[in-house]
């Protein structure tokens, strides 16, 4: 790493100041507020504030719906990550083999990433809507009664598809880049040694893609857990009966709709803990184990 020596003690701080200010105002201060608020019970207007210690947290652990929300989030994150990475990998491998049309396909596949999540959610909501949706109409014709407003499984499927669809583009780009950095000579050598395409994929390509895969794994889990609020809000609004109420959505719903700020703050503190944990995992373990 390159080292720069400053003669003036003040200059490095001055150069850091804008970034530090942004971090403080937009990250540290709100996080501190959330932490403080999580120990309080307050009416909506903020007239009466009581310090309640860990009451908000213990109420959460006693709430079966909050515990169910963990399970929902787990199922959702795993499904979104698996689906979006699986599809992206298949697409990337396919495009990698194309010589001429590769860039065209790449452009087309990346398009969905430019669609705002809320709009993507509305599009899927429209297609699957049990009353006016084209896909639910087709499924009814095929003898399946799709109703994500009442069927928890349908609802989960819907938000997984809506959330994964967008993320496929992102994963695809990284996979294509990862594939292109694998020297063709390795695969050719294996081919000469008699390894078939499937064997070559699993013994050469996939292991060499490991750094990309692990990176995407973390990014996708973080995405599924924290960035999918608009998709859920636009499609199922957490329903039916909170079957798709992931942790982030519950923070919003309890805080902004229900105005229970203490509980909402406690939930976001727990989420903050999860983010910190995931970040540590990424930096401590994955970055070390995987050689780029």
């Amino acid at each position: 790493m390159k080292r720069t020596l400053f003669r003036n003690q003040l200059l490095p701080w001055l150069l850091l100041a804008p970034q530090l200010a942004v971090t403080t105002v937009f990250f540290l201060w709100p996080a501190g507020q959330a932490l403080y608020q999580s120990f309080l019970r307050q009416d909506a207007f903020g007239f009466r504030t009581t310090f309640v210690g860990f009451d908000n947290f213990s109420a959460l652990w006693a709430d079966p719906l909050y515990l169910a929300s963990f399970k929902v989030t787990l199922v959702f994150s795993v499904a979104v990550t698996a689906l979006s990475m699986g599809v992206a990998l298949v697409l990337a491998v396919s495009v990698d083999r194309l010589i001429k049309a590769g860039t065209t396909y790449t452009t087309l596949i990346v398009w969905p990433y430019a669609v705002a999540p809320a709009i993507a959610g509305i599009l899927w909501w429209f297609m699957f809507n049990p009353t006016v949706g084209i896909l639910s109409y087709v499924m009814k014709g095929l003898g399946y009664n799709w109703n994500h407003q009442l069927n928890a499984g349908n609802a989960m499927t819907l938000i997984v598809i809506a959330a994964a669809w967008k993320q496929v583009s992102y994963n695809f780009l990284f996979f294509v880049a990862g594939l292109q950095s694998i020297p063709a000579s390795l695969r050719e050598a294996a081919a000469i040694d008699g390894a078939g395409p499937v064997k070559r994929f699993f013994t050469i390509t996939l292991p060499l893609l490991a750094p990309t895969t692990f990176f995407l794994l973390v990014v996708n889990i973080v995405y599924a857990m924290f960035d999918t609020f608009p998709v859920v809000d636009a499609t199922t609004e957490g329903g039916p009966a909170q079957a798709t109420s992931i942790l982030v959505y519950k923070v919003y719903n309890d805080g902004f709709i229900g105005l229970n700020l203490g509980s909402s703050a406690a939930q976001s503190v727990i989420l903050m803990g999860i983010v910190i944990f995931l970040t540590v995992v990424q930096f401590r373990f994955i970055d070390r184990r995987v050689n780029y």
Binding site: G46, R48, P130, A241, G258, L259, N260
Partner: protein
């Protein structure tokens, strides 16, 4: 956004031109056509005098407007007037330091104000236990029954007879579906408001202690009573038989298209849905009816309760603004202003005088079904069970009702289990609210 920019521009211009005019901010939740009507009301007031200028700002849905108002109050940036929907009443009433009660405002400003001029069902919802009116009724509605006359006839029913009782709703629906006149008999918006709260009031059945929460802050719900259990059980049974189709949570956004597309022949929704029904139901003739009741229940039908919103005045604005707010509220109470707002929107004329105004100008004679909501809400003098409800955290309890109803229709709970869960979860929310406000 354009509208917002325009109002900002208008604000800037007028502030430069007539600096003596006092601006009064009014945050509301009326989008689309209702929003335009509302802005017209404000513009008419502004044109009627020169001392004050009411500036309406659209803040999103009802819950979003309430949340924005509360956040603004915490940041001391609150508007003078905010429109709050009926289930936010408990929250607003508990916020004693934030709210300037309307009866007090009108007395302080020396504006004439007679609570008895308003319809009893409306007043009952928004007065405290001492009989004082805390907010200014603005847009009040009540659920009614809409039906498809053509489908009724096709099914061999009388096209001019809406179902009166739930027994008839079931029998009619069965006949409609089995005759092939339509694939579904019944759909409904607002399971919470229509099929639970109004259903209980209409049957003169209590839904909570302390006069449905009016008397005290720490009340208990009683939705798990045999009557509501029976009704939810029936809805589930009818859904399984294909007679009833669920329109979705909250306002039930999927219910209207089912009715417009002639999929469901009977549809229950707010009286303020009337304009939309008339606009969309172009391929068939619409009939109107009162809410159905179970014929074996003593005291039914009683009277239905209101939904919609009232205008709350927030504390902490300069005194000059409150004088203007009082003038504006007097303007809003005028029969012609009231009728001008209620007639095109389907909201109730909330004063007796406005009701008579619309009667005299022939509006009800020219528009069949338009008078029905007001007849229904004033059918009998409200009882302790039918003047409304007032529970803390009720915005969240509405969500609980939707969730448990979905669990019932999804088959994971029986009606009794679902309503027991509504009561248990609702009581916890009320207790939380009581604890936060003591």
């Amino acid at each position: 956004m354009t509208r917002y920019l325009m109002s900002v521009a208008a604000f800037a211009l007028s502030a430069g031109a007539v600096s003596a005019q006092t601006q009064i901010q009014w945050w509301h939740a009326m989008g689309g056509e209702l929003g335009q009507r509302l802005e017209q009301v404000a513009a008419d007031f502004n044109a009627s005098q020169s001392d004050y200028k009411v500036v309406p700002t659209f803040k999103g849905t009802y819950p979003e407007t309430l949340t924005a108002g509360i956040a603004a109050f915490r940041a001391r940036e609150q508007p003078a007037i905010i429109q709050v929907f009926e289930v936010g009443t408990g929250t607003m009433m508990a916020a004693e330091g934030a709210v300037y009660p309307v009866y007090q405002l009108m007395a302080d400003q020396g504006e004439p104000f007679d609570p008895n001029a308003f319809l009893p069902s409306v007043v009952g919802y928004y007065t405290d236990t001492a009989g004082n009116m805390l907010s200014m009724p603005f847009n009040s509605s009540t659920p009614i029954l809409y039906y498809n006359k053509d489908v009724f006839e096709k099914a061999g029913l009388d096209r001019n007879t809406p179902p009166k009782t739930w027994e008839e709703v079931e029998a009619f629906s069965r006949q409609i579906v089995s005759s092939g006149a339509a694939p579904c008999g019944l759909t409904s918006a607002w399971i919470s408001w229509v099929q639970t709260e109004n259903f209980s009031a209409w049957h003169n059945t209590s839904i909570g202690t302390n006069e449905n929460g009016f008397g005290a802050i720490d009340s208990q719900l009683s939705y798990n009573n045999p009557l509501v259990v029976r009704h939810w059980e029936n809805l589930k049974k009818w859904q399984d038989e294909g007679l009833f189709q669920y329109g979705g949570p909250v306002g039930g956004n999927d219910a209207p298209p089912k009715f417009y597309a002639q999929e469901c022949a009977i549809y229950m929704n707010s009286s303020a849905a009337r304009a939309a029904v008339v606009n969309n139901a172009t391929a068939f003739e619409v009939g109107y009816g009162m809410l159905p009741y179970y014929s074996d229940v003593q005291g039914a039908p009683q009277n239905s309760i209101i939904g919609g919103a009232t205008l709350w005045v927030l504390q902490g604005r300069p005194a000059a603004e409150y004088a203007g707010v009082a003038k504006f509220f007097s303007f809003l109470s005028r029969p012609d202003v009231q009728a001008g707002w209620a007639e095109p929107t389907g909201y109730l004329p909330i004063t007796q005088a406005a009701y008579e105004y619309s009667q005299n100008n022939g509006f009800y004679a020219a528009n069949p079904g338009a008078e029905l909501p007001i007849q229904q809400i004033t059918l009998n003098p409200p009882t302790a069970n039918s003047k409304g409800l007032r529970f803390g955290n009720y915005v969240q309890i509405r969500t609980v009702i939707d969730e448990e109803f979905q669990a019932l229709l999804g088959g994971s709970k029986t009606a009794q289990q679902a309503l027991d869960a509504v009561v248990a979860r609702g009581n916890a929310l009320i207790a939380e609210f009581a604890a936060a406000n003591q």
